[in-house]
């Protein structure tokens, strides 16, 4: 027991040294000031935050529990549709819409996680892909309710009120970016706390050696299930933000290729690092934006980049950095 926990306790491989942390937050807070100077626009940064949050949620499962889900777009898209449908049909309230989206996506993940928690490896991945496609298919074919292939339109985010204060997020890219940033910061803090808790350490132990962890009496299935559920709640939250960002929810946000993109973002940034998925999301969003403005054959280039990453940079950007500093220290 002590041996295993000692390994897990040694240091969370989060890349959380003070300097990195400060750099990341300074960069994020000042985005609206420097991004336009570099030819970008703030909505692009908002997209990075949303995808980054979704990928970080996925990474709780993928990088820190060692379980491969290739269907997280389902929870993302359910979050988006949950928020969009609430705003369109039920109430004009951003916070209630977000709550509905988070519950819809998160509970779907929780229920499905319980169903497949005993599967492992590629079989687990295949089940998550197929389950995700159910929702794509429903959103695609239920034309009257979800808008079908064209997506769900005719809703928009509403000002948010905290008691007497109202915060108008309906206008202005920059204002909405800061709204996203606050939610992102809270979520990331929660994830960090979770990974530092005994529960988070146990997840690491399961990732490192499932059989040994089982012999120590850790209820593996329950831990993986909880990790799956928590991860899908965070991804669903990102999905609701995506719907609010675009005032639009489309079936492609449920499609398995988006699940694949989330996994790619995580791997590009570094699967076993805390901030990797955010970095990966930034790289991915910028690349996609750039390539699709240059050529119609963007799929070829994106696909080729995925393959190159897998073959030559499997540890990702932050993972490589960590390996380099480790070698220097040794």
């Amino acid at each position: 027991m002590t041996n295993l926990l000692a390994v897990a306790k040694k240091r969370l491989p989060t890349g959380n040294d003070g300097l990195t942390l400060a750099a990341i937050w300074v960069l994020l807070v000042t985005v609206p000031f420097w991004l336009p100077l570099m030819g970008g626009y703030t909505a692009l940064a908002s997209k990075v935050l949303v995808f980054g949050l979704a990928a970080m949620g996925l990474n709780l499962l993928l990088g820190f529990t060692g379980v491969l889900s290739f269907g997280h777009a389902a929870y993302f898209g359910l979050g988006a549709y949950g928020a969009g449908l609430t705003l369109r049909y039920l109430v004009h309230s951003t916070s209630l819409a977000m709550l509905a989206g988070i519950l819809l996506g998160g509970l779907a993940g929780t229920l499905f996680g319980a169903l497949i928690v005993r599967r492992r490896g590629v079989y687990f991945a295949m089940c998550t892909i197929a389950f995700g496609q159910i929702w794509y298919y429903i959103a695609y074919s239920w034309n009257d309710f979800t808008g079908g292939f064209d997506g769900l339109r005719d809703f928009h985010r509403e000002p948010i009120g905290f008691g007497p204060l109202t915060f108008d997020i309906t206008q202005g890219e920059t204002r909405f970016y800061y709204f996203l940033l606050v939610i992102f910061a809270v979520s990331v803090a929660l994830m960090g706390l979770l990974l530092r808790s005994p529960f988070g350490r146990t997840l690491l132990a399961i990732r490192e050696n499932e059989r040994r962890a089982r012999f120590l009496g850790i209820p593996i299935e329950r831990h993986i299930w909880l990790s799956f559920a928590i991860s899908s709640f965070f991804t669903a939250l990102a999905g609701t933000l995506y719907a609010l960002l675009n005032n639009f929810a489309d079936p492609l946000s449920l499609h398995y290729s988006l699940s694949g993109y989330f996994v790619v973002m995580t791997v590009i940034g570094g699967m076993r690092t805390f901030w990797g998925p955010l970095v990966g999301a930034a790289v991915f969003v910028l690349l996609q934006d750039y390539i699709s403005s240059m050529t119609v054959n963007w799929m070829f280039f994106i696909g080729a980049i995925f393959m190159l990453v897998v073959l030559f940079f499997p540890r990702g950007l932050l993972g490589m950095r960590r390996a380099a500093t480790k070698e220097k220290g040794a």
């Binding site: 169903l115 991945a125 197929a130 694949g260 996994v263 790619v264 799929m299 070829f300 990453v309 897998v310």
Partner: protein
């Protein structure tokens, strides 16, 4: 009424036949190498396109034989150059590699053959209906189903009665032991991958005659093949066979009574299987769990 039912049953058989060919190839690769080949649907499209390009020169029958073999050759190159490198890594890498590769092939097909659907010319004798009453059953459909049956029987006979087939089946259970017995596992996996791609290419040629060819013709079949494998049970080829037929028939029969639910039925069957018998209908407990 009986004509509508019969029409949909033949449709179910034909669609089920595609599912089966495609899913068997996926299943072969999955069982021996633990790789989910996301590009499998694109190998199918490739088979169709190659047949389209070749048939003016070597005729339909020639293309039917040659283009699956060419697809298999491409599969050998892909396995040797890329997939081989990631066998011993986390499964996430093989998924991402084939996922990216699927994008690449799809765009290459679109670049070479254009984004629009292409018709596949058939020999005149195959496009005739069998009888005037059964106008919807062309000889092509009969031929196709027969061909698929022959191919599937051939595959199972090959796995059952040849030395290589025995090694593939043994490797499915325990690849390490097979390797220590002196079998060249590297070549075995390459060969197995090629057989899987050949099956995809074959279903591509057959599908081309029925549905035409377009760059993403394999995408829908890919997802259904996953479901066929999950329903049938991972690790069991017979299971995949039954899974494919089952969901093909179920979808077709639903079409008779409630057309818009035909795809929902497939997913419902999958959820039911996962709920009641998570290993799949003919899956072995513990093999891939």
């Amino acid at each position: 009424m009986w004509q509508i039912v019969l029409f949909n049953v033949t449709n179910g058989l034909i669609i089920g036949a595609f599912y089966v060919l495609m899913a068997l190839g996926l299943s072969l690769i999955l069982n021996l190498s633990s790789v989910i080949n996301f590009a499998h649907g694109n190998f199918l499209a490739l088979g169709g396109y190659l047949a389209y390009t070749l048939s003016p020169t070597i005729g339909y029958w020639g293309a039917l034989l040659v283009s699956p073999l060419l697809t298999a050759l491409i599969g050998v190159a892909v396995e040797r150059l890329m997939i081989r490198r990631i066998y011993n890594r986390d499964p996430v890498y093989s998924l991402l590699l084939t996922f990216g590769f699927a994008f690449v092939i799809q765009d290459v097909c679109r670049y070479i053959w254009g984004p629009n659907g292409l018709p596949m010319g058939l020999p005149a004798m195959l496009s005739q209906p069998i009888t005037p009453e059964l106008f919807f059953i062309t000889w092509y459909r009969v031929f196709m189903v027969t061909f698929v049956i022959v191919a599937v029987v051939g595959l199972f006979a090959f796995l059952r009665y040849t030395r290589i087939g025995l090694r593939i089946r043994a490797g499915t259970f325990d690849l390490e032991t097979v390797a220590t017995l002196g079998v060249n596992v590297r070549n075995l996996r390459t060969f197995n991958f090629a057989v899987g791609c050949m099956l995809a290419g074959l279903s591509g040629v057959l599908a081309a005659g029925q549905l035409g060819i377009n760059p993403n013709m394999g995408d829908d079949l890919l997802m259904t093949s996953f479901i066929a494998i999950i329903v049938g049970g991972v690790g069991s080829l017979i299971g995949t066979l039954f899974g494919g037929l089952l969901i093909g028939m179920a979808a077709a029969l639903t079409t008779v009574f409630y057309p818009s639910a035909s795809e929902a039925v497939i997913y419902a069957i999958m959820m039911l299987v996962l709920l009641v018998r998570p290993r799949g209908l003919l899956g072995e407990e513990g093999m891939f769990t």
